[in-house]
């Protein structure tokens, strides 16, 4: 114990630091690949199971139905991904879907111009712009409260969930808006269904919108400074701020993006069900959060990808549809969906722990093989 080794006797480190880093790097890329791979694996598994249980599951018609449903959730999830990357949460998007639907419906019904007897019927493109604008405006309000007043995102968007749902009820006043959505030739407001319920190349328009938005979101996150700032401020906001990142502006904008996505889904949904209803979009926010989380994002912020989120949305969609097709009762459907969400996150964690342990074991074996028995004597 009273040894005083001269520096010269110390054996050189068997492994260069660069080599150690390189192998650590490899394991990290591997782990992120596994994480997305896990969601993909779940997807393949779900499809395989239900395809065996039901002949109709992989029917082209059913696949189109699934894709349409997935698209609504995926578009919301893309907005939610931005919010979650920042370490926030947006509970209001479901209500915003309902609200924009109700706004659009009312615009089709015509606007009573104040101080005149006239009723104005805006053209369809005006209705689309205003409705999506309402979604963005709700998001703007969220973003302002959360970034400027530094209120907790959970509370602000929870409040907005009630406000949005309440305004939807007010606007609809107990009545669904259905026939007016078709528009009238004489009023010049036709063409909504022709666009928003169309199927270019056999795919529902919502799927095309999803694809376009996913590409856009990918570019935004991976290639634009805004995306880098979002990842940076989601991981360490203080460090990002001191690096000159406009953290407040980034935070405000992501809620506008989430609100805009909700506005788009609102329009697509009333076209899909040919009606603006008061309960439209209820609980959509939870499905969107689930898709983001299944896709490997961290609720603490800074980690998550567009690809993972889209896969997550498909996992939920294929599972829900499969359960319906094989005739599982709606009550049990919820139980199973919930269990799958928890399972996804739990597997993620277990996998991380296992990886760390595995690396430790390998390294320990290496140490043992290189440490002579002499060092074990006291």
């Amino acid at each position: 114990m009273t040894t005083t080794n001269a520096p010269a006797e110390v054996t050189p480190r068997p492994q260069s630091p660069a080599g150690g880093l390189a192998s650590r790097l490899r394991s990290i890329t591997l782990s992120s690949a596994l994480m997305e791979g896990r969601a993909l694996l779940a997807l393949v598994l779900i499809i395989a199971v239900f395809a065996t249980l039901s002949d109709n599951y992989l029917d082209p018609g059913n696949l189109v139905t699934i894709t349409k449903q997935v698209a609504f959730n995926a578009i919301l999830a893309l907005g939610m991904l931005m919010v979650i990357l920042n370490g926030g949460i947006d509970l209001s998007v479901g209500s915003t879907v309902g609200l924009t639907g109700a706004v659009a419906g009312n615009l089709f019904r015509g606007l009573d111009l104040p101080l005149t007897q006239a009723i104005m019927f805006p053209q369809v493109w005006v209705i689309v712009v205003i409705s999506v604008g309402v979604g963005a405006l709700v998001g703007y309000a969220n973003g302002l409260l959360i970034s400027r007043l530094r209120l907790a995102p959970f509370i602000v968007t929870l409040g907005m969930l009630y406000v949005g749902r309440g305004l939807t009820e007010v606007l609809l006043n107990g009545q669904n808006i259905t026939n007016e959505l078709r528009g009238q030739e004489g009023l010049g407001n036709t063409g909504f269904f022709e666009v928003f319920a169309s199927r270019p190349l056999g795919l529902p328009i919502s799927a095309w919108v999803m694809i376009a938005l996913a590409i856009l979101a990918s570019i935004l996150l991976v290639r634009s400074p805004f995306g880098r700032w979002l990842y940076a401020s989601g991981s360490n906001e203080r460090a990002a701020e001191l690096s000159g990142v406009p953290v407040t502006r980034v935070k405000a904008r992501i809620y506008v993006i989430a609100g805009t996505c909700a506005g788009i889904v609102g329009l697509l949904q009333i076209a899909n069900i040919s009606s603006a209803t008061a309960d439209l979009g209820q609980f959509y926010e939870l499905n969107a959060i689930a898709a983001v989380v299944i896709g490997g994002a961290a609720l603490s912020g800074g980690r998550g990808t567009v690809r993972g989120t889209i896969i997550g949305a498909f996992v939920i969609g294929f599972l829900a549809n499969g359960l319906v097709i094989v005739g599982v009762s709606p009550f049990w459907q919820q139980v199973i969906t919930g269990a799958v969400i928890i399972l996804a996150v739990a597997v993620d964690r277990v996998q991380q722990i296992a990886q760390n342990r595995g690396a430790a074991r390998r390294a320990a074996a290496e140490v043992r093989s290189k440490t002579p028995a002499a060092s074990r004597s006291a």
């Binding site: 040894t3 360490n236 001191l242 320990a364």
Partner: protein, 534 residues
């Protein structure tokens, strides 16, 4: 320095100097990193064993294993001649082994008494908490430690030094016989360090074994009974206190004589780059004035050291200059332009950036790679048509990594896999890539090893010769004396004096800062031998 004589201890039959805890061939691996490679280590009753080593040498890992925070990959712990396995910290505490961490592990929203008994509450007969009993024990412990803190005082209201004492009291309440202290003085003032050392002496006199780690080498040497040096996960030296001095410790730690002294570097100061006039900052929560009418000029090519004690207002001054906190009064001119009211980002783009004090909290973005961290502040300069140009970004990152000599496998390496020194180089490089005219650095060498400290100052002096103005904060007198063109001393929010490091002594500068010449600080002559490595 020597241990109290051959006094027998009341608790147990342990005699002073007897080995109570023995680590035999302890090894530990994290992932592919070998933190410890078969370390043999002894802890003796009633004596202070100081563990020396650079960052990454394995000190903290060894402490975590001794205190049950982590389990060794190989080897055996022997407590009182009995082989043991410490499952977790609770297990360790029950066996009389406690650890006090660098950051105090107290709940600031609870009072002293509740913190001391947290998780080990005394119970009344019907199962409630025996507050009266706890209060009595707390008072007794505080008297024993000669610290007049009322048991009901909120921990948030205590100074760092007092919080440290509460941590010790908590360990004593659990009848600790082996106390491990990891960097206990890093947040303490000189007078608080004196109090702590007095307490340590009292504990050892009562037979408690102390294991002590510190980056403040001189302090640690003064309290040591035994010195143990770790390097690269191996125990390279073990000596009783009589045979050690500072050069010996540094030599053992680094395997070389670490020396840096930049006083004679050629200096070429130009125009005034940053001019601070009568800057006053009030704490926005309490309204207390923390920076009081400060005026400083930093010239291009000049390295100014802002020396002072903790709480002198240095960090507040730096964060206000960087634009994070608003100023109450005064004027800040950068190249003649008034930058009051500009955001952090606007100041960076005008050439003024801050390397923050707390690297993990404010410096690195943990989930981004080395490269993305480096390019973060200067990202705007690699944007083409609204998108990040990969070619120009990777080119800049490569040049940046070369310039600050980051040791990493490549730009895609996770930042968290780097050593503290290399992480700090990335944070500094991040701001250098924005072509600053003045760089602010708050405690730039905190928590990094001796070798990397010299490299960081060499980098700053190299940039200064290219015209960069530097203003940095330090609490290490050796650093101030050897690595600056000018020393500005701050005390209680004011600039009290200025020194030329070539013509002044360590003692003069310390006296101006309000630091008492405590026995823990060394003689001025050691400046020459190993400047800034304390």
């Amino acid at each position: 320095m020597s241990a109290p004589a051959t006094e027998t201890v009341s608790a147990g039959s342990t005699e002073i100097g007897q080995v109570v805890l023995r680590a035999v061939g302890i090894s530990k691996t994290y992932g592919v990193t070998k933190a410890l490679k078969g370390v043999d280590f002894e802890v003796r009753a009633g004596q202070v064993t100081v563990l020396f080593g650079e960052n990454g040498a394995g000190k903290s890992t060894l402490m975590k294993i001794l205190s049950g925070v982590e389990q060794p990959t190989g080897g055996q712990l022997v407590l009182h001649d009995e082989p043991i396995t410490l499952e977790n910290t609770v297990d360790a505490v029950e066996r009389g082994v406690s650890i006090i961490h660098q950051e105090t592990n107290l709940c600031p929203n609870l009072n002293v008494r509740d913190n001391i008994f947290l998780g080990r509450e005394l119970r009344t007969r019907i199962g409630g908490i025996d507050y009266a009993g706890e209060t009595e024990v707390t008072s007794r412990l505080m008297r024993q430690l000669e610290e007049e803190i009322a048991p009901q005082t909120l921990v948030a209201d205590l100074r760092m030094g007092q919080q440290q004492i509460v941590e010790i009291a908590r360990a004593l309440a659990a009848e600790t016989r082996i106390l491990i202290m990891d960097e206990p003085t890093s947040a303490l003032s000189a007078s608080e360090v004196e109090v702590l050392f007095r307490v340590i002496r009292e504990l050892t006199a009562n037979g408690v074994a102390i294991v002590y780690i510190s980056h403040h080498l001189e302090e640690a040497i003064s309290i040591a009974d035994h010195a143990v040096v770790l390097r690269d996960g191996e125990l390279v030296a073990h000596e009783p206190a009589g045979g050690i001095d500072l050069p010996w410790v540094v030599h053992q730690m680094t395997g070389r004589q670490a020396e840096y002294d930049f006083r004679d570097e050629p200096r070429d100061s130009g125009e005034v780059a940053l001019s601070v006039r009568n800057l006053t900052v009030a704490d926005h929560a309490t309204g207390r004035v923390v920076v009081d009418g400060v005026s400083i000029d930093v010239r291009a090519g000049e390295i100014v050291c802002l020396y002072g004690l903790m709480g002198a207002g240095r960090t507040e001054l730096m964060e206000t200059l960087a634009g994070r906190d608003p100023m109450t009064a005064g004027e800040v001119l950068l190249n003649g332009e008034n930058i009051a009211g500009l955001s952090v980002g606007e100041r960076i783009s005008r050439g003024l950036g801050l390397v923050p004090e707390d690297r993990q909290r404010d410096g690195v973005v943990q989930l981004l790679s080395v490269g993305s961290n480096l390019s973060l502040a200067g990202l705007r300069s690699v944007v083409r048509k609204g998108l990040i140009s990969r070619v120009s970004e990777s080119g800049r990152i490569r040049r940046g990594m070369d310039e600050v000599t980051v040791k990493a496998a490549g730009p895609d390496t996770p930042i968290t896999s780097l050593s503290g020194g290399n992480q700090q180089k990335v944070v500094i490089g991040k701001l250098l890539m924005t072509d600053p005219t003045v760089l602010l650095l708050d405690e730039p060498t905190r928590g990094i090893d001796v070798g990397a400290k010299g490299e960081i100052f060499a980098l700053l002096f190299k940039e200064a010769q290219k015209g960069l103005g530097v203003l940095y904060v330090t609490s290490e007198i050796g650093e101030a004396m050897t690595a600056s063109h000018r020393i500005v001393v701050m005390h209680k929010g004011r600039i009290v004096r200025e020194f030329d490091p070539r013509t002044s002594t360590r003692a003069e500068v310390m006296a101006a800062s309000g630091e008492s010449a405590s026995p823990t600080t060394s003689t001025p002559t050691t400046d020459q031998a190993i400047g800034g490595t304390q």
